[in-house]
Amino acid sequence: MADLVIEREVLVEAPVEVVWRTITEPDQMSQWFADRVELVVEPGAHGFMQFGDQGGPVVVETVDPPTRFSFRWNHPREEEPVTGNSMLVEFTLTPEGNERTRLRVSESGHELLAWPDAEKERYAGEHRGGWAEYLDRLATLLAKRQSG
């Protein structure tokens, strides 16, 4: 089970195939994601993304047109991106009628290893909102305790 960092979604007024092309075609990706995208959209393909003067390798994980696309990034250079050293970005496209698509993106990190299943489930439940929500809750709690 991956540890959810963040999850966002948007409703797009376009058919699922159009949204799929927008998120997977490199010339389209360079408009919404990186400044330069070198990527073959095939499982296991290694690519590169340039952001300003920074950049990094990406590795495609799942390509399941037109509903699932995922890749790993932010792993150390010279290393194969695997569970534990990289972040997994996953796009899920759900058609809602013929001309509308719900697009969900999640970014997740290290897997919950060496942890009993019941505990994993409890934690996944508590942190369904991702780390953003978790940290927000912590900060609020702390502020409350410090002022009280």
Binding site: V10, W32, N74, G109, H110, E119, Y123, A132, L138, A143
Partner: protein, 118 residues
């Protein structure tokens, strides 16, 4: 892409056991490693290891009180982490917004073309 400091912070909170320790520190304030060990399902040794990682990431600091070492959450660093996460969410919202705009424009273009052909 993330910075080195972010990476440390993220891997610090990526571990559920460490989040458990953080939770306890946030709700109980200055406590010792032994006290923490009494409230988690893992060993005193594991607690020390987790505290060291949290300290390295700047999320936790320690002070001596008599013969005891007490740990506490660093509020500033926690705020900073919270902001970094909110930034990440905002970044994805911007990307999704652009995808929406691109896809909707492409769809409108396709429909116009079909009407011309049809």
């Amino acid at each position: 892409m993330t910075t080195q400091a972010d990476d440390e912070l993220w891997s610090a909170i990526a571990d559920p056991s460490r989040r458990r320790v953080l939770d306890l520190l946030v709700s109980n304030g200055d406590v010792s490693a032994s006290w923490l060990a009494g409230h988690v399902p893992f060993s005193r040794q594991a607690v020390s290891k987790h505290l060291a990682v949290l300290e390295q990431a700047g999320l936790v600091s320690r002070r001596k009180q008599g013969r005891e070492v007490l740990y506490q959450v660093e509020a500033d660093r926690l705020d900073q982490a919270t902001r970094a996460m909110a930034d990440l969410a905002a970044q994805w919202d911007r990307r999704l917004g652009t995808i929406k705009r691109l896809a909707e424009a492409a769809h409108a273009e396709n429909k116009k073309r079909n009407r011309h052909e049809g």
